[in-house]
């Protein structure tokens, strides 16, 4: 009795033995993950550049859009608060708590600095820095916990790899860097050309990191189990290959990398690159859900 075989078909909901697509986490969840990581990435890069408008945009993207898409996914949205109850074992609970900390410390820091509350209330500089540090720490968890939540699922071999949380982080930072560049190009970055150049270089390096992470993810899934191999085939050879190569790799990585390397000083190039990175990142998020497969529980095929 074989346990599973890579030659078995994908059978959908039929009463046959074979691989089954996971459809429990679909586009609304992909939207929520995308917005959560994008917002956290914008916040982290803007915090690095000390760009408060960027930090505010990052907070709003996470707190409003991510929350909205999560609630639209939930079967019983009015009971969603219960998701916070098990941080000892669930990455969903840990993530929800980190979003809470991120929102509290992030908005507190922006309130203290942008609205001048720190001065008017006589709050010491060390406390303001501590607030920023805690917000950054929480944002780091927000940018990675979704990858951990997915990588802990042994059921879906494509997700069950340590590269998943790393992919969340590098994609979040790459998209965050591009959006920060677009937002600040004619603002604070116009007066700080070395920082602008550094952010372009960081973006390029992050795109290289994205390539390495994607290759690691596909390699781990391919060599992990027959289900992982089948998922990698879906992404690289069959159903989803045109989307994966066209949008995720072509528009999302190759095009922005070439544009940034050739014309990193041009706003138009940065704008097109940012749009490309966001499109590629979003397609990655959707495809990684679409290509997730459950393995057949057993097979008698030789």
């Amino acid at each position: 009795m074989a346990t599973s075989s890579n030659d078995l078909p994908i059978v959908g909901d039929s009463f046959r033995v074979g691989y089954r697509f996971q459809r429990y986490w679909d586009t609304p969840m992909a939207n929520a993950f995308f917005c959560g990581e994008l917002g956290a990435g914008i916040f982290l890069i803007s915090a690095f550049a000390d760009y408060k408008i960027g930090m505010l945009v990052g907070l709003l993207v996470t707190c409003i859009l991510k929350t909205w898409f999560h609630l639209s996914h939930m079967g019983v949205p009015l009971k969603s608060w219960r998701a916070i109850l098990r941080p000892d074992r669930s990455w969903i609970s840990r993530g929800l708590m980190s979003i809470g900390f991120y929102a509290v410390f992030g908005f507190a820091y922006l309130g203290l600095t942008m609205l001048g509350l720190a001065e008017s209330m006589g709050i010491p500089e060390a406390l303001v820095s501590l607030t920023k540090g805690l917000a950054v720490l929480s944002a780091l968890v927000v940018a990675t916990y979704q990858g951990f939540a997915m990588s802990h699922s042994t059921a879906i071999a494509l997700w069950n790899t340590g590269a998943m949380p790393i992919s969340s982080l590098v994609y979040a930072l790459a998209a965050g860097a591009m959006v920060t560049l677009v937002l600040g190009w004619n603002g604070f970055l116009a007066d700080n050309l070395p920082l602008r150049g550094a952010l372009v270089t960081i973006s390029l390096m992050l795109l290289v990191a994205v390539v390495i992470t994607l290759l690691s993810l596909l390699h781990a899934a391919h060599h992990g189990s027959p289900g992982g191999r089948k998922s990698v085939e879906l992404l690289t050879k069959t159903f989803y290959s045109q989307w994966f190569y066209g949008i995720t790799c072509g528009v999302g990585i190759a095009l922005p990398a070439l544009l940034l390397a050739a014309a990193g000083g041009s706003y138009a190039a940065v704008l097109i690159s940012a749009a490309g990175v966001l499109a590629g990142y979003y397609s990655f998020r959707v495809l990684i859900f679409k290509a997730g497969l459950f393995e057949p529980i057993m097979s008698f095929r030789p």
Binding site: M1, T3, S4, D13, F15, R16, V17, R20, Q22, Y24, W25, M29, H73, M74, G75, V76, P77, K79, S80, R82, A83, I84, L85, R86, R89, S90, W91, I92, S93, L96, A149, M150, H152, S153, T154, A155, I156, W159, S225, G292, F294, E295, I297, M298, S299, F300, R301, P302
Partner: protein, 204 residues
């Protein structure tokens, strides 16, 4: 305390799907929601071709991944080993569904309860009394017919099976029928490499 489990005798299963119908009826399941399925597979090359039927349901794992990831404590294990879902606590996030290697979770979309089995938008008295145990939007699964088990009865799929291909009982009792079958015919769990320690076994 008993530790309930089930054995599927693959030599006896004829793929009639009476268990599937019995389960749907016992649990008043809405359209497209199934707690058990009997999968089929053909293998071999003509003329040496064979077809096998493989019944599936929740494996009530000792180390249930669905319970570990549940953020709201809705999934829990009873003292007798039956893994349950509390409809009052489930938030329908689906994290249990993507954690179950056996794809045995079911989303109870709110629309299912509105349309009714006949798609007319009206519920029959049978549906009205049955749907009361579910919260629309929750994610649920087989509970070994825990209500019947509490009364000393076997699950509905077991009593419906015309060939005794499903054998239910206490796995801790060495003299129980499932324990003997597992021991004598080398019963094996599904996907053992997932390390979930299922309480459902297959014998050939």
């Amino acid at each position: 305390m008993a530790r309930y489990g089930m054995v599927f005798d693959l030599k006896r299963c004829i793929g009639c799907n009476a268990c599937v119908v019995g389960c749907k009826q016992e649990n008043s399941l809405p359209d497209s929601v199934l707690f058990t399925r009997t999968l089929s597979e053909e293998y071999g090359v003509f003329p040496a071709v064979n077809r096998v039927y493989i019944p599936t349901l929740c494996n009530h794992c000792e180390d249930a991944p669905c319970e570990k990831v549940c953020p709201s404590s809705a999934t829990y294990t009873r003292d007798d080993g039956i893994v349950m879902v509390d409809p009052d606590k489930c938030i329908g996030c689906g994290s249990c569904a993507v954690a179950c290697p056996y794809d045995q979770r079911n989303e109870m979309h709110a629309d299912l309860f509105k349309d009714g089995l006949f798609g007319t938008g009206e519920l029959t008295p049978f549906e009205e009394q049955g749907y009361a145990r579910f919260t629309p939007g929750m994610v649920t699964k087989c509970d070994f017919c825990s209500g019947r088990v509490d009364q000393g009865l076997d699950p509905a799929c077991v009593v419906t099976c015309p060939t005794d291909a499903r054998i239910f009982g206490d796995l801790d009792d060495p003299d129980s029928k499932p324990s003997k079958l597992i021991r004598e015919r080398k019963g094996r769990p599904p996907l053992p490499e997932k390390n979930t320690r299922p309480k459902v076994f297959y014998v050939e």
